[in-house]
């Protein structure tokens, strides 16, 4: 109890048949990011700085769905979004519809720190990025071959590809995704989970922060905004905790998931783990999602109702763990 803590995620909803070498790559990336965060925490960086630098690392690596490696829109382009929140003062920044900004989470931070607003999107956000002199690249930079292939599959199935690897949790082994078309928002679509990325930190002063970044749903409509940039849904931090969510965007939004964890701690006095368990169990209805959270007391917790979640966490007393499955 007490001291710093950090958690990272690379998305909830994992194909049980994910090839071992991909699992290894994912774990290596998560470990690397955790270590980056840990060393920053040991150098007394603030929580808000740490979440930003860790998420930048995740955005830059093409493995997960954010920054480079983002899922593609129906047009084959990338539209990225992110948000960041500083528990101290509950200041926040968010961006959506980015197409040339190399690190969306950093632009979100600039919105928070350098603009009179909290949320900028599309061409307005891109203009702001130019004014701020952040690193800009061509949209193609973010597009990976793997995702081009995924988009083609999605279009062939003429569906929004959400999670190819989410069989219903708790159902019989090897429940086939193919059989009953899973539903998202009541409309039948094949399910394929793009991984969002996120980081939550409490520093050695007990300040919490959270950040989330994503390219969104494969084959999404241009202009579609998910939960990641929405304060209270994908990201939330206050003086009690920091939370970052991943999974079905729509379920996270309607469940105001990140805020929910903090609200039950604040208004019901639940501990971090109790709050996380409550929210995952009671607030998702038929939705699938996961989240990571830290508390101002140095606790770290994660929860998910999907088959897996790419995640890692560490605390000052030496605990460290990286995992994918339950």
């Amino acid at each position: 109890m007490g001291g710093w803590a950090i958690a990272v995620h690379g998305g909830a909803g994992v194909d049980p048949n994910l090839p071992p070498h991909v699992q290894e790559e994912a774990k290596k990336l998560l470990t690397r990011c955790l270590n980056l965060g840990i060393s920053a925490l040991r150098s007394n960086h603030s929580a808000i700085d740490v979440v930003e630098l860790v998420v930048r690392e995740l955005e830059t690596d093409p493995l997960f769905n954010s920054g480079r490696g983002s899922a593609l829109t129906a047009n084959g382009t990338v539209e990225m979004e992110a948000s960041i929140m500083d528990g101290k003062g509950r200041r926040c920044g968010a961006v959506s519809g980015l197409t040339t900004v190399k690190n969306p989470v950093s632009l979100a931070r600039l919105v928070m720190d350098k603009s009179p607003h909290s949320y900028l999107a599309f061409s307005g956000a891109e203009d702001f990025a130019r004014q701020q002199g952040v690193e800009l690249v061509e949209n193609e930079y973010f597009v990976t071959e793997e995702n081009v292939g995924m988009l083609k599959l999605a279009k062939e199935a003429n569906t929004i590809v959400f999670d190819y690897r989410i069989p219903a949790v708790g159902s019989e082994t090897c429940s086939a995704v193919a059989e009953s078309p899973l539903q998202m928002n009541g409309l039948p679509i094949s399910v394929y989970a793009p991984e969002t990325v996120g980081c939550v930190v409490v520093d050695n002063q007990g300040r919490c922060a959270a950040a989330t970044s994503t390219g969104g749903l494969m084959n999404k409509m241009n202009g579609r905004i998910g939960d990641s940039p929405l304060i209270g849904a994908g990201t939330y931090a206050c003086n009690l905790c920091g939370v970052s969510c991943t999974g079905e965007g729509e379920a996270i939004i309607r469940g105001t998931l990140a805020r929910e964890v903090a609200a039950v701690m604040e208004y019901k006095g639940l501990s971090l783990q109790e709050a996380v368990d409550f929210v995952i169990k009671e607030r998702l209805d038929e939705g699938f999602a996961g989240l990571i959270a830290v508390s101002n007391k140095g606790d770290v917790a994660c929860g998910f109702n999907t088959t897996g979640m790419f995640r890692g966490c560490a605390t000052e007393d030496g605990f460290m763990e990286v995992g994918i499955w339950e």
């Binding site: 603009s115 900028l120 599309f122 679509i189 202009g223 304060i231 209270g232 729509e250």
Partner: protein, 321 residues
């Protein structure tokens, strides 16, 4: 139990000296919207239909900062946003960055009902509007002379104006700002509950005067400007950034659920404790047919009515429910 409805036309630093010719059209609009909402509830329309039709009415009224009459971005354009939520299912829809859609709230509803998504914005939302065949017009339709003046004044004063409710004083020097600079935004919203306890909420706005292009406020953010579940429905208004960080609409519901506060207590708590003074207002109804309207600004255009015959129209806080 019984039906209840509340309407808001924006919270802000509405001066008590507001000239009659400025005040009357807004009061009349509140009265009219209340009536059409009440009539619809009496005709057994669903709360979701009721909040949509009331907000459409306010969007069409150029005296409020939504739809026609929206305040202008720093480039003199209009970018409208809205969200709607159904308490029973917690289904929701939101739009941002609209420039030609006559009724943003209706597009938000279509996003909820016709797409697998919740939130569409800017070009994508405009394209969806065309696919859906909703009414679109040249964006000059939304721009009023008053807002052109307002933008000019603010740009001359070179600051972001949060308060569209201040009347334009053509000959006066710029208003002396209040302590932290500005008072609050206009938004329009409506919450309703029917006699079965079904709840819905809808909010719509043009945003901040002189806002940056692409700026999104609290109005389309579920949990901030709009929220509804099976306990209550809330529509908030005020300084967008403050409403967002305080997740105002969600917090009212959370306090009821997790701390057992009544609707009125929860609303009062959020408005008094969770946002700085001068930053926000809200209207809310509960599944039991209660209604509350709370503000920590000088004023908020508002009106409410319940099935047992209570009704109220107000502007300043002394008239508060």
């Amino acid at each position: 139990m019984g039906w209840a409805i509340a309407v808001q036309g924006g919270a802000g630093d509405i001066p008590v000296t507001l000239a009659a010719e400025r005040r009357e059209p807004c009061e009349a609009a509140m009265r009219h919207c209340l009536k059409i909402g009440v009539d619809a509830l009496k005709a057994q329309k669903s709360p979701l239909d009721v909040v949509e039709l009331v907000v459409r009415e306010l969007e069409n009224n150029p005296h409020f900062n939504a739809g026609r009459g929206s305040v202008l971005t720093r480039e003199g354009t209009v970018e409208m946003e809205a969200s709607i939520m159904d308490g029973n299912t917690k289904r929701c829809g939101a739009v941002s960055g609209l420039t030609t859609v006559v009724n943003p709230i209706s597009l938000a509803r279509l996003v909820m009902e016709k797409t697998p998504h919740i939130y569409l914005a800017f070009d994508g939302a405009e394209r969806f509007a065309r696919e859906q065949g909703v009414e679109t017009v040249d964006s000059s339709h939304f721009i009023t002379q008053e807002n052109i003046e307002r933008l000019k004044q603010v740009q001359e004063a070179n600051r972001v104006q949060i308060d569209y409710t201040k009347p334009i004083q053509k000959d006066e020097k710029k208003e002396t700002p209040t302590a932290d600079g500005d008072s609050q935004i206009g938004t329009v919203g409506c919450v309703a509950v029917d006699s079965h306890g079904n709840l819905a909420s809808a909010t719509s706005t043009g945003g901040f005067v002189n806002k940056m292009v692409g700026r999104i406020g609290d109005t389309p953010i579920i949990g901030a400007g709009t929220y509804a579940n099976n306990l209550c429905a809330v529509s908030a208004t005020g300084k967008g950034e403050a409403v967002m960080r305080a997740t105002i609409a969600r917090d009212v519901a959370a306090l009821m659920e997790f701390k057992g506060l009544s609707l009125k207590e929860a609303a009062a708590y959020v408005i008094e404790e969770c946002v700085p003074r001068g930053n926000a207002g809200l209207v809310a109804v509960s599944a039991k047919g209660e209604v509350t309207m709370a503000l920590n600004t000088t004023g908020m255009y508002r009106a409410c009515a319940t099935e047992d015959g209570y009704s109220e129209i107000g502007i300043w806080s002394s008239v508060q429910n």
